[in-house]
Assembly symmetry: C2
Homo-oligomer: 362 residues x 2
DNA sequence: CTTGTGAATTAAAACGCTTTAACCATATGC
DNA sequence: GCATATGGTTAAAGCGTTTTAATTCACAAG
């Protein structure tokens, strides 16, 4: 089946090849009448433009690349969704590459995308301590969800801010003893904890203890910790638990409930970074706005700005930009926020988060 | 910054352009000595091949496309990982497009990828009743995770088999009253249920009831159902719950425990399609092997076969192939399977599922 | 000293499109 | 009416590769 080329369309429509190309790329340059004839010819022949040829000839692709470290890393999913939505809004296609937690593969993917003539690249780096030597980029690159120190422009969540937000929220609820649970070896978590500590340093009367939750951050660990914390002697028992991760917090709620403790009456529980996976807790979980979606959105915006700017001036002279996504609190039942009556819990939760659809799980 | 072209490399290495191309694509055709010189020149100049030009000239790309309906649809994540891994194993790159549950976008993405000269496409269709009119494909296409009736070759899970497997497992444990919970409006779920009913039709003495879990399949719904089922009068109470989804089953465990029921002593609980997200239940959940990863793997294999075959004979004459991924049981504590002693629960679970790493959640 | 052979290299022809500049009507201004 | 715009259209020149056919070269055989 010989593939239909632009020349075939031109012949079918009785115009020249260039006119067809114009109809496709600069519709305003061709008379509506002619355009109609061409459209019909395209339809009749089932013409499919060869993107490779377009990119080669045009020097640009209208495609943006997104390199993720792994599909199931915390925010990657939400980043992907935010980026996709925003890219489409601007008429760009988005193609994704998954580095499978392999640093070399991540770099190779980015290089490959550049070779593919994408107009710009978003990279969520593989978690690691050192940055790879800043490769020479032939297209604008923006890094996502990184701690500061990236070699280029980046968009990042305000992890410290998240911690502080939650801590302040609990403080206003009169807590006297907070237990923080989470894998504190991770950078993100360290920052969240720092935010908490920062706020509590102004409240020396409030007791703060930190429990490491093991390597996996699965809710089973949260569950165990919830149980053991609630089984302590009354005086030793915390009256609030912060999960550095929503999944841990969700587990902790389950664990606490199983000991007969009541949430939020006996125990306040809050999470971080509003993971839609954790919505389905017995008691709706107070948390912070999930940053992923917004990081993806802002990443695309920043990238597009840089692409536009590159056309004007050489990329080298552009300043490095840093964007931080500000968190906001999502107070829910687990810290005694008043549930909206007349709504199911799911509906209730849905109202709190714009990108609710992120959470529907099969 | 003018981009380095293959001609620049040739000049730097003191050979002709064609030789550089050969060194890149048919290394065996160029003397090792020359190859070394060329490699050095490439290194020195930081040459990055223009993939668009390669695809255009070569007519193929060494890239496979994957179109997903949505990143967070049940098995999509695992499909993506399975496909990626298998594609890399065969030296292919994989680029993904996300259709965001939009049928038109899904079709457009597939067309776009074809225009991009990918060598083949894997499509997990947007859930919907009718198939889009079979578009003319310029490259081999394989559909994934579909109910039968697809217009082309496909790889699918054996949802009925999963249901049957779980049902048989419970039957051998002497259950007398099974409650099935899940959103039975979904095709996948219908099939799983059918498998269960099929097995139980041979056991008229076992009571079977089906409870619809609402639209969202979140574990909160499982929790509520778990509570209400266990709060029934002793005679009315089921002694086993099957969640058509692992997440529901996980919720049900929590709900049941909260009423004081013991799992698995008073109640057996099992899920379906081993969702790693549900690993973190208080009691390890019995379930079936997750099909997603395997579907992705087999999909790539089938696709590669078809690509190889297309080179030999025209695609039209090829037969339509159907592959089904067979499920196997993952018996764990929630149905009284003996836990492996000396291992943490996480380790224990890890051993049961090859693609364990799928489940590590930040 | 031819001639033949095979390996290594090169020159040149696609690949399918975008874009530039030239072209041609037809409408506009004086 | 003649020059001047103006909107549409076209011919032709790339874009950076791969690939095919031609060329060169070294060496062995006759």
């Amino acid at each position: 089946m010989a593939r239909v080329r632009i020349g075939d369309v031109a012949r079918e429509a009785g115009v020249s090849l260039g006119t067809v190309s114009n109809a496709l790329n600069h519709p305003e340059k061709v008379r509506p009448e002619t355009r109609r004839i061409i459209d019909e010819a395209i339809e009749r022949l089932g013409y499919l433009p060869n993107q490779s040829a377009r990119m080669l000839a045009g020097g640009h692709s209208n495609v943006l690349g997104l390199v993720l470290p792994r599909l199931n890393h915390g925010s990657s999913l939400q980043i992907a969704n935010g980026a996709l939505t925003e890219a489409r809004r601007h008429g760009y296609n988005l193609i994704m590459a998954n580095a499978n937690d392999d640093k070399a593969l991540s770099a190779r993917s980015a290089r490959y995308l550049m070779g593919m003539q994408v107009d710009g690249i978003l990279v969520q780096p593989v978690p690691s301590l050192e940055w790879e030597p800043a490769a020479t980029h032939t297209v604008p690159v923006v890094y996502l969800d990184v701690r500061s120190g990236s070699p280029g422009s980046y968009v990042s969540a305000d992890n410290m801010g998240q911690g502080a937000l939650i801590a302040r929220h609990l403080v206003t609820h009169g807590t006297e003893h907070i237990a923080v649970i989470g894998r504190t070896s991770s950078q993100h978590m360290k920052l969240r904890l720092a935010g908490i500590q920062d706020v509590l340093s102004a409240h020396p009367d409030i007791e703060l203890e930190v429990l490491d939750a093991g390597e996996w951050n699965v809710s089973g660990d949260g569950y165990s910790l919830g149980v053991s914390l609630m089984q302590r002697a009354p005086g030793e028992r915390p009256d609030a638990i912060i999960g550095l991760t929503d999944v841990l917090a969700a587990g902790a709620i389950g664990g606490a409930l199983s000991t007969g403790a009541r949430v939020p009456d006996d125990l306040l529980v809050a999470g971080c970074d509003g993971n839609p996976l954790a919505w389905s807790t017995p008691v709706a979980l107070t948390t912070c706005s999930p940053a992923g979606y917004e990081i993806g959105r802002k990443g695309i915006q920043l990238l597009l700005e840089r692409i536009a700017a590159s056309d004007a001036q050489p990329r080298e002279t552009q300043e490095r930009r840093e964007e931080v996504v500000r968190p906001f609190l999502l107070p829910r039942a687990s810290t005694g926020a008043v549930p909206t009556e007349g709504l199911t819990t799911v509906e209730n939760r849905a109202r709190s988060i714009p990108e609710f659809n992120m959470g529907a799980y099969l």
